[in-house]
Amino acid sequence: MKYPLLVAVILGMGSAVLARETAVEIVPPAEGSVSVEDGLDAWSRVYEVTGHPRCANCHTGPSDRPMWSGPTYGETRPHGMNIQAGESRMGIENLQCSTCHTTKDEDWDNANDIPHAAPRVAMGWQLAPVEADWFGRSTEEICAQLRDPDRNGGRTAIDLAEHLNHDLILHWAWSPGGGREPAPYSLQEHINDILAWGVAGMPCPQD
């Protein structure tokens, strides 16, 4: 085990959050340039991401319970300690997610290097909204949810890409640290797939 040193340059990292966000580019393909077939290909990669435990574990819908998975947990199982996200999705009163998943002031490196510690980012930890119910859902179900403005926060594909760019928990999914398995592809590739899927008209396998 090796925990790289956190050097004292952290203080100078006030711009780190901005730097990270701008590291991702949101450049949708030209309108009409993506066929439905290519859009479905893009969607299948999006589903690999949304169905991956790194993402789905916190998209548990009405069950209110985040999930745990990884080599030491056997099959995917409910988050230990009887953790419930409550209506706020941020934890029930005074056992908020942030009791353990503390909020970093800055998005400094290596904050999540200790295996099995509670991951933390520079925003309040929380579950995804109930509507974004992905855990154990099929590609058709997730696809239908993500293109349904009533259930996706009224977002276009570009809005979804912007959301991915701004939500730091989502950034964490691609750099989870501590030996955790990251979400498939990269954040940029995932955003590109979302954008291509959008330009293709948000096709779903069931169409």
Partner: protein, 749 residues
Amino acid sequence: MSRVGTIARRTFLIGSATIAGGVAFGAYMVNRPIPNPLLDDLAEGEAAITPYVKIDANGITLITPRAEMGQGAVALQANLIAEELDIDPASATLTPGMPGLAYYNAATLEEGAAPGYDDSTSTQITRYMFGKVAKLIGLQITGGSSTTPDSFTKLRTAGAVARETLKEAAAQRTGVDRSQLATKDGHVILPNGEEIAYTALAAESALIAPVEDVTLRDPSTWRLLGKPNMKRLDMVAKSTGTEIYGIDCKVDGMVFASVCANPAIGGDIISFDATTAKTMPGVQEIVPVTGGVGVIASNTWYAIQAANAVECVWGPGSYPENSEKMWNVLETAIDNEDYFNDRQRDEGDVAVALETDDIIEAEYRVPYLAHAPMEPMNAIVLVTDTKCEIWSGVQAPIWTRDKAVALTGLAPENVHVYVQQMGGSFGHRAEIKHVEQAVEIAMAVKGTPVKLTWSREEDMTHEFPRPPAIARARGKVSNGQVDTFDLSVSQAAVIPSWLERNSGIAMPGPDPSIAHGSWDQPFTIPNYRVTAYRAPDMVPVSTWRSVGASGNGFMHDTFMDELIHAAGADPLVERVRLCFDGTSRKVMEEVGKISGWDGPSLGENRGRGIAFCMSFGVPVAQVVEVTNTPNGIKIDKAFIVADVGTVLDPKNAEAQLFGGMIYGLGHAINSELTYENYAAQQDNYHANEGLRLFQTPEFEVKILENGHHIRGLGEPGVPPAAPALGNAIFAATGQRIREMPFHKHINFV
């Protein structure tokens, strides 16, 4: 007086000695004088005596040599003395004292000698002989649920001798005969109502012969012991964050350290590179230790971070490299005469009885288990050219001292061990590897106290765990009754591994703990056999709360339940019918009564199980009720009945029983240590959860007092928990679970 009392009186007397400004009362040995830890403080020519009570003008100090791990030992010891001494135990200063041979614990080994129900003359003699061995090897140790039986007579006698001697001093001062004097609340009371404080009589008491001919008070007159309002003395400190555990100790000028040691337990370090570690914040020094590397830093966090950054090349382990190979070793040993350990139960003719087609067979497995107390291992050590001082929460202070003597080359009288409060142990702190490491680091910076703290990961991956075991069972039922019960257990030896590593003493002969909890159960079955096979040593192992009974209790009682089910009998009724020990029968009947037992079924998707195990002389029966919910098993309610002979501290006894059962349930459900490349794979509580509050059932506890011996309760609550749960799951689901942890086979909510 009970037989325990007889034994105790033959091995110690209570004397007194002068200390600066006062008097010390305590035990000295009859048969052979044993060196005395207080001698340093005594003037030349004065009696060699190990104190339990010290009184001077400033106050009363009670010495409670059995260590506090959470089981309430200190309060119990103080109350035993205070009951006879007539003081408020909360008004006294309490200290564990210094390690001394005279504090040896006879009861630990006495219990190893024979089953708890066996009161025959030969057993009495065997118990006595084991007690002698305890003295010879200096076993000042806390464990084996032995504090209560060991202290019960010894400490009350110490209190009584002190009281009568103080009265005699008052008699000589006032001219009033001792028989006319009374005592109350730390004072001698004269017939005219005048009071003289013990503290005012201390100096005079030291000058007269101690009054040794005392009669202990009848339990019916006790004002502290056995009373429902008897309180532990550590509750305020433990509820306000002011209790000082080993990990909280401070010594002026100390530096902080942590280590990384070979995850192959006992393995060498071939080389290491501390280049990165040396540059990390706060790091002061890198110190090689046996099998690892220590880092000294300006605080514990820096030390742990840097220890993790040391790159090490480890030597191989001396045991099979992974769990699969370890199971293979156990499978090779079972039912293999080359590995025969003992067969302490062999009644009827099992071989003949099993020459039939309708044999019921089962195989059970229990895994390696970490003790994992909440407080990680730690020690503060100061080494100079002339002395070594150690502050640490250890269960065996004499062995701790001896390890430091061997490492430093100092004389034993120049090595001092100050036993600290422990944040749990469960057997973990009967090990002293961390102190050895701390001594090695402190020797590199002589004159500077070093506080070593293991990270949780270091602690869990350097466990000396409970060993795994396999049992194979064969049995037969006839006419609705259990007829034949044959159990073979294969396990590596625990006691020899632990004893030799920590004390250097090689234990000859078979290891009695392999089938402890199986062979010694109070049942009569027409054909009944229990055979222990001693598998070769693998991962070095240690005593874990309830030791052999922790696994055997599960394997023996679960097979009993399987046979009873096959016989079509009621699990409670048939166990009671098979039991020959009246005390144990009453325990089972009582748990039936308080649980409203009328069979294992509780309706659709619900069920209950009963289990029984006698360990450390205490018969314990438990009933568990479960519901099979859509998401898994929920434990609804638990009932416990035990018999300890005499209950000294009812509130704490109840806590020990439900705490033990919770410990047993948690490990049954979700805990194990597995090994890959010689290293334990579970390194923190995420992978070794135990029970959490939301999984904890409601409890009903009842303690009986029919037994002839007084017993301790730190451990006996553990063994019946797993089989009671497994039997309940069978009742609710029809699924029989034969392997711990259960969550490999069924989900829990």
